[in-house]
């Protein structure tokens, strides 16, 4: 059974079997506007919480998406290379950004659940 967590930086993580699928929230994609490019990470890259994992580029600006927890990239969503607008149209589904193997599952305790995130964005 997958559990979904949220961060104050407007990312979501769906965790199942020690692997987190990470994306940005619908609120975040709305703030960014139409995406035209996603710079994806290499598989195998080790990230510490707060490192830049992905850069999403809208017509107007580039924005960093940070690793919400420590871990190692196991897969990047290659579909976004040809269709970055999936992040706009399906932020919490087909527009996921990367998957990572969690280094320390106890870090998840510091994240928000959906109700807390909804309160966070007001």
């Amino acid at each position: 059974m997958a559990t979904t967590y949220f961060t104050s930086d407007h990312e979501w993580l769906r965790v199942e079997g020690g692997i987190a699928t990470v994306g940005i929230t619908d609120y975040a994609q709305e703030q960014l506007g139409d995406l035209v490019f996603v710079e994806l990470p290499e598989t195998g890259k080790k990230l510490t919480k707060g490192d830049t994992a992905v850069v999403v580029e809208s017509v107007k600006a580039a924005s960093d998406v940070y690793a919400p927890v420590d871990g190692e990239i196991t897969e990047a969503n290659g579909t976004l290379s040809s269709d970055p607008s999936l992040v706009n149209s399906a932020a919490t589904g087909a527009g996921w950004l990367w998957k990572m193997k969690l280094a320390d599952e106890s870090q998840l305790a510091g994240l928000m659940d959906e109700a807390a995130y909804k309160a966070h964005i007001g």
Partner: protein, 366 residues
């Protein structure tokens, strides 16, 4: 909130009602996007008609027996040769020939001109022009107007339906169709279109009529920027600054030949010297390879890794369908087709020098 001197558009309530997302630009709270989003807003402007609130820009009326002499001192321009209703792109230069602002000057009468200045420079421009005016029998009057732009192939038809005929007005001409109105056929998108300065009460009426036309959509600053970048038009403060002169900015076409040779405008000596020397760098179009945008301030390198210049504006061109940028490169590299490399977060992206504009201008010249 004390100390917040952000300025607000007179029509802000209309933009809020239209669902605008606001952001700060040049000291103003401006609509950046509307619910359609930057991509649709951009394409809609090229296909139909986009309505822009550009009231952050400033209109100045310059008048008096020596208005021509004042403008000829302030700008590399022969204001006396402008026909009535003719507009011209010009500049305020500093003594070093650097560009303090770019302006559109329109002749309204024998001794009356309209000067349209950029938002970020409006206060400095007014001070500059007033100081110069002290030596001439001429006065400078900032006008309190709402300033709207309507741009795109259907702009004229939408205005016509709203009761404003634009028939004989050609690109880079401006008239006063009603009391306290100024309307020019010009813009910042590369499309046919108009800029209209008018009193707020008239503006509310006109906006209501225009938005009742399904061809017309509000367009925010984000799309204004991508439209002007595709059109190869400069943004002062990014692509042209007090540190760049018209020769390096590839804008000498805006300065008449006789004025280059003998004009007595501020910065004339420095500009002549710069032309004589030849600029070390030139402004060019830049087309990044692939899909990744290359943005302002990215450093450029030649094939051997030597510094070659920098990007001043960059983003994605929704009509071009690829990233677009402009910037400055060493003069020997400033030829279309030359390949340079932009440093984007440590990766070198191949970028080809490209002729401007990226999308053809569609002005109504006659």
């Amino acid at each position: 909130m004390t100390g917040d001197d952000t300025r607000h558009l007179p029509l802000e309530d209309i933009h809020r009602a239209a669902g605008a997302r606001f952001g700060a630009f040049a000291g103003w709270s401006m609509p950046l996007t509307y619910p359609a989003g930057v991509m649709k807003e951009h394409l809609h402007t090229r296909e139909q008609a986009g309505l822009f609130d550009i009231s952050h820009m400033k209109l100045f009326e310059v008048s008096g027996p020596e208005a021509v002499s004042l403008l000829n001192r302030a700008c590399p321009l022969d204001a006396g040769t402008l026909e009535i209703s003719q507009s011209k792109l010009s500049f305020f230069l500093n003594e070093a020939g650097g560009i303090l602002d770019d302006l559109i000057v329109t002749r309204l009468g024998d001794a009356r001109f309209m000067v349209v200045a950029n938002a970020g420079n409006a206060v400095a421009d007014e001070k500059h022009l007033r100081a110069l005016a002290a030596d001439f029998d001429a006065k400078v009057e900032p006008l309190d107007r709402v300033f709207l732009a309507i741009q795109g192939p259907e702009a004229w038809a939408a205005l016509s339906r709203a009761g404003i005929e634009t028939g004989s007005l050609l690109f880079m001409h401006g008239v006063e169709p009603r009391k306290n109105w100024f309307m020019s056929r010009s813009g910042y998108t590369g499309e046919d279109g108009f800029e209209i300065g008018l009193p707020e009460v008239d503006a509310r009426d006109l906006v209501g009529k225009l938005l009742g036309d399904e061809r017309v959509l509000w367009i925010g600053l984000a799309a204004r920027d991508s439209l002007r970048l595709e059109a190869g038009l400069c943004l002062h403060g990014q692509d042209i600054t007090p540190e760049t002169d018209p020769a390096s900015a590839a804008l000498m076409w805006a300065i008449p030949k006789e004025i280059r040779a003998s004009g007595a405008f501020i910065g004339a000596d420095a500009l002549r010297a710069a032309v004589e020397r030849g600029p070390a760098q030139k402004r060019v179009g830049l087309k990044p390879e692939g899909r990744q945008p290359v943005r302002g301030s990215a450093a450029l390198f030649d094939a051997d890794g030597n510094p070659a210049g920098h990007v001043t504006s960059g983003g994605f061109g929704p009509s071009a369908g690829h990233p677009v940028a402009m910037g400055y490169v060493s003069t020997p590299l400033a030829k279309p087709g030359t390949r340079v490399f932009a440093d984007v977060r440590g990766t070198k992206i191949p970028v080809d020098i490209s002729s401007l504009p990226f999308t053809p201008h569609r002005y109504r010249k006659g």
